[in-house]
Structure formats: C-alpha cells, structure tokens
C-alpha cells in the first residue's frame, strides 16, 4: 500500500523521537504500520526535502561506518507542526470511524 497523503505527518512523528536518516525513517514507518505503509524512496526523499524547505526539518551529514549519512531532525516549527498534525488526524479519523460505524 502506498498512501502519500499522511506521509509528512508520519515523518514528523517519526522524527519526534530523535534525529534519523531516510532509510531508518522508511523502515520505522513500515514496521510500525505492520507493513501496510511501505513508502518508496522516490516518494520519501522528496517529502523529506520538502519539509526541510518549509523549515520544519533541518539536516546534517554524519559519517557512519565509513558511509556519509544525512540525518534529519525536527526544528521548533516542526515540533509544533507535528503536534498540530496529530491532533488534526485524531479528529479526522474519529470522525471517519463514526461515519463508518453508522452512529446516528
């Protein structure tokens, strides 16, 4: 399954636990969603760069096992946005659940 819509929110949530690089972000999203959300790298990296352009993330390079890795971390605006997105998603998903369950 490849759902692009909530990807920025998922990235922000993933990085709220601390800085990480693209590979581990993708892996974390996939494993936490039990394989349902499997984002392609061609989708993930543009989303990361877009969030960086918007000032929600910042990145830095770090050498790890002889390999240069680009780590991403949340900025202050990113932390605020992350909380906002979570609130909005909870509101949205509970509304959809209510409709699907047919609550009058």
């Amino acid at each position: 399954m490849n759902l692009k819509g909530p990807l920025p929110a998922l990235i922000l949530q993933c990085l709220s636990r601390g800085p990480n690089h693209g590979y581990l972000i993708a892996k974390h999203i996939k494993s936490t969603s039990k394989g349902v959300l499997d984002y392609r790298e061609g989708t993930l990296y543009p989303a990361l760069h877009d969030l960086e352009n918007k000032g929600l993330l910042e990145s830095y390079e770090q050498i790890e096992k002889g390999r240069t890795r680009r780590y991403y971390r949340l900025t202050r605006a990113g932390k605020k946005k992350c909380a906002e997105e979570r609130r909005e998603w909870n509101r949205f998903s509970s509304a959809v659940t209510l409709v699907l369950e047919g609550v009058p």
Binding site: G22, Y23, R40, P46, A47, N53, E58, R67, T68, R70
Partner: protein, 227 residues
C-alpha cells in the same frame, strides 16, 4: 527479448535529471546510501546479493515519478541559471528592476507632478526630467544592491519589488497611457485607478513562482551542515 534490468546509476541519472549540480549530488549520495543499507540488510538476512540488489532497486520506486517530485523540491538547472544570471554583473538590474522600473520611473512623476508648472515653455519637460533622474537613481541603486545580494536575498527582493512595480506597469497598460494624454487628462486617469485591484490576480503567478524558488534555495542552503 527480455529487457536488461535497470542499474542504480541508471535509476539515479533519470531521477536526478534536470536538477542543479548540488541537489543532484545530494540526492545521489542519499539514495546510494539508502540502497547500500537495504542490500546490506537483505544480505544479513541470508538473501543472495543477486536477489537483494534488484529487490532494493525495485523498492526505490518509479524513477520518472521520483524525478518529477525531486524537481518540485530542489532547484533545477534552469532555475539555478536564472538565479546566477540575476546576480551576475548587471543581471539583477536587468531582470528584476530594469523593465519594471523603467515604467514606474516614468509613471511616478507623471502621476504626482504639478502640471501647471511650466519649464522652458513646456509642461512635460519637468516631469520628464524627473522620470529620467529617478530611472538613473534606480539603475545605480540596483547595481550597488546586486553586489551585496546572495541568491535567496535576490529572489526575496524580486518578489518584494515586483508588487509595486507591477502595479505601476499594469496601471500604465490598463490606461493605455501616453505622455500627451496623461498630461491633458490627468484627473480622469487618476479616477480610473480602481482597476489597480486587478493587479493581484495578474501578479500572483509571478510572485508564487519566485517564492517557490526562494523556498527551494533557502532549504537547499540550510541543509549543508556537516558533523
């Protein structure tokens, strides 16, 4: 006949096509590191390298779609060339100020000058001289400005300058202004200036494109820290 499977380098060359050198290099480094980590992990899980590599490559997704997405968030070659041109020598003046300023320098005195003032027996000489003086001032000012600007600042300045300057230009176009008609019927021209409210609709695409480029450049410049 079976097609030869795509290599990582081929995938990258398509996905990064059209990007400026710095962005292309950054994407290349990130995707290569991602690919290597995926192959390494698959090998550790006992998967043969010959199987692990194509699997990791498939996980990258469609290179054409990736190219379109990267082009949206990174500065492209064309945009980079435009930014550089803007800063080169007379470029800032030519691209950002010159064409707009030429109109507004001629328009500002035309709108504001007291036309009952005669000079050398003619009404148009004083506002004309004033317009030329303003034009020369802006030329010198923008030339000096371009020496101190970097690309993000130049883009920001472009967007900020575009608004008043385009208003002047649009006013000029809407009214079909000519010196002679303006001088003879200045009050009527000023009364028609309500049409200035059309300007945001005409101007918004240009400002949107500029701010989009500005955001790309700013994000790009901010992502170079190394530890």
């Amino acid at each position: 006949m079976r097609r030869r499977p795509m290599s990582l380098q081929e995938w990258l060359s398509i996905a990064t096509k059209g990007l400026a050198a710095e962005g292309r290099e950054r994407v290349r480094r990130e995707i290569e590191a991602h690919y290597e980590a995926a192959v390494e992990e698959a090998s550790e899980q006992g998967l043969d390298t010959e199987v692990a590599q194509p699997t990791a490559l498939r996980a990258l997704g469609d290179c054409g779609k990736a190219q379109r997405r990267f082009n949206r968030v990174f500065l492209t070659e064309v945009e980079e060339a435009a930014c550089k041109e803007m800063l080169r020598g007379n470029g800032f003046f030519q691209t950002e100020v010159g064409s707009w300023m030429m109109w507004s320098c001629l328009m500002i005195p035309a709108y504001t000058f007291p036309y009952n003032q005669m000079f050398l027996g003619q009404r148009w000489i004083l506002p004309g001289l004033c317009g030329i003086a303003l034009f020369v001032f802006w030329h010198v000012f923008s030339q000096s400005l371009s020496r101190f600007l970097n690309i993000p600042m130049a883009l920001f300045a472009h967007a900020a300058l575009s608004i008043p300057l385009t208003i002047a230009l649009i006013l000029c176009l809407l009214h079909g202004l000519q010196w002679a008609s303006l001088i003879s019927d200045r009050q009527a021209m000023v009364a028609q200036s309500d049409s200035v409210f059309l300007v945001p609709f005409i101007l918004s695409p240009s400002v949107w494109v500029t701010f989009r480029m500005y955001r790309k450049v700013r994000g790009h410049a901010g992502g170079t820290a190394t530890t």
